[in-house]
């Protein structure tokens, strides 16, 4: 009892150790690998991200200028962000929220024109 009393009193005064989670969230740390995004205007559709991705969640269509990501397959490892030569991929500081429908993220950009086309 003598051992427990100070502990009980301390716990009465101090704050809670937990948060009321869905209503109260903490600030994300800087550098967190959250949801994957792309700055599609900078993208040259080289396809290196799709080549390096260990899960195969990315696919790039150079002809049509499409960048497709399956967020349900992505494991947030950040390999694509590191390997992107144009640095157009980025990861948000927050994780993707739970979803009840499966869908893919499709981004359409301007595919790079061939040299001959660019000259004309």
């Amino acid at each position: 009892m003598f051992k427990m009393t100070p502990n009980i009193l301390r716990n009465l005064i101090t704050d809670k150790a937990t948060r009321l989670y869905p209503f109260e969230t903490r600030e994300p740390w800087t550098g967190v690998r959250g949801e994957l995004g792309i700055d599609i205007e900078k993208c040259t559709f080289c396809g290196i991200c799709a080549l390096k991705c260990p899960t195969g969640c990315l696919s790039v269509n150079k002809k049509e200028g499409l960048w497709i990501c399956d967020p349900f397959v992505c494991v947030y490892c950040g390999v694509c962000v590191e390997s992107c030569p144009k640095k157009c991929l980025y990861q948000d500081l927050v994780y993707r929220e739970a979803a009840d429908e499966h869908g893919k993220i499709v981004m359409k950009g301007e595919p790079p024109r061939r040299k001959k086309e660019a000259e004309t």
Binding site: W29, G31, C77, G78, Q91
Partner: protein
């Protein structure tokens, strides 16, 4: 007296992972144990056939959710040895820092689960509260909480700046104080001792004969730790394996508790000695034809990687022997003779990681 067969698992409140034990019981005393595994086999080793050797780093990280950093480190060291690459000194120190953080969070998780196995719920929550701080360090420095994805062949993918190192050290100071405060509750408590002392005794000779590894081996008085090999930057740090003589569940618990404090000490040493410089070297080409082995001390013991290459980007074979695989025979030999009520405590005392074992 007539014997009865009692199945435990694969779904059981005390087992964090699916393992099925068929216990033959006479009265309340166990006479025989037959395990069955294979509930979470994922065939990760076979994925090396279809992936580039760089991509396998992310695959081996998923062998175990708790010691992912060490799996990747072990694989990278094996490939680096094959290709004749040496990671820069700074990368080696960063690997030590993150791997010891991983050991801390794994041991704190286990200490909590162990407390839970004998029904000490509040101690379980206290240990997990401390563990959360280690996970915060992971998240702030690497970007992910558990599967940190910092290793790559030739070094590491993330760097720590001076402010971050200072912040880690200040956090570790708090963690050390809090862990020490919980020490007497776990190690000197009458009830805890009643449930753990003398339960599941493994003598040092038995431990060696059965090929036991990690804290299970060290709790039986054998000072064998793969960190003594001096991989990464461990050769330049002061390190003594933690050992206990008794070989029972309590000794295994004490070894892990002391290893948390030892890991804090090692991170401090590494942070004090960390040199400036690059964090990775550029890797070109494929691993040459041949084979390599790599060993790393994980929280649960020695992990062993065998890598075979045919000189192409895709490896020919990868074989992983995880610590729980080595510790299971010891578990089966200590269970007979114990009471049925001791099973959860003794099974947890070897820290079984079934997902690791089945890969």
């Amino acid at each position: 007296m007539k014997s009865t067969v009692i199945p435990i698992g694969p779904q059981h409140p005390v087992l964090p992972e699916p393992v099925h034990l068929k216990l033959t019981v006479v009265d309340e005393v166990i006479t025989d144990v037959v395990p069955s595994l294979g509930f979470v086999h994922r065939g990760l080793e076979m994925l090396v056939d279809s992936r580039d050797y760089h991509q396998v780093v992310q695959i081996v990280e998923r062998v175990c959710g708790i010691c992912s950093m060490m799996h990747a480190m072990c694989y990278c060291q094996g490939i680096e040895e094959m290709m004749g690459i040496e990671a820069p000194p700074r990368a080696k120190y960063l690997r030590v820092i993150w791997s010891e953080l991983h050991r801390m969070h794994s041991h704190l998780l286990w200490l909590g689960l162990f407390a839970d196995s004998f029904g000490f719920e509040s101690l379980f929550m206290q240990f997990w509260r401390i563990r959360e701080k280690v996970l915060d360090i992971h998240e702030a420095t690497t970007g992910n909480r558990v599967i940190v994805s910092v290793n790559k062949i030739g070094g590491v993918g993330k760097d720590l700046d001076d402010d971050q190192i200072e912040w880690i050290l200040s956090e570790l100071k708090n963690i050390k104080r809090e862990v020490r405060r919980l020490g007497p509750t776990l190690l000197d408590d009458y009830t805890v001792k009643k449930r753990t002392v003398g339960r599941g005794v493994l003598t040092s000779q038995q431990a060696i004969d059965l090929g036991t590894v990690g804290p299970t081996l060290r709790a039986s008085g054998v000072a064998r730790d793969m960190r003594q090999l001096g991989y990464a930057a461990l050769g330049e740090l002061d390190f003594e394996p933690v050992i206990e003589e008794a070989g029972d569940s309590w000794a295994r618990c004490k070894v892990r508790f002391k290893e948390v404090l030892a890991s804090i000490d090692m991170i401090r040493q590494a942070a004090g000695k960390i040199p400036a410089g690059d964090i990775a070297v550029r890797v070109k080409g494929a691993p040459p034809e041949g084979e390599a082995i790599s060993r790393v001390e994980q929280p649960r013991g020695e992990v062993f990687y065998y890598i075979k290459s045919k000189g192409q980007k895709k490896l020919e074979r990868l074989r992983i022997r995880t610590p729980t695989f080595a510790n299971l025979p010891a578990l089966l030999s200590i269970l007979p003779g114990l009471y049925l009520s001791d099973v959860p405590v003794v099974v947890l005392s070897i820290d079984p990681c079934i997902s690791c074992t089945e890969r």
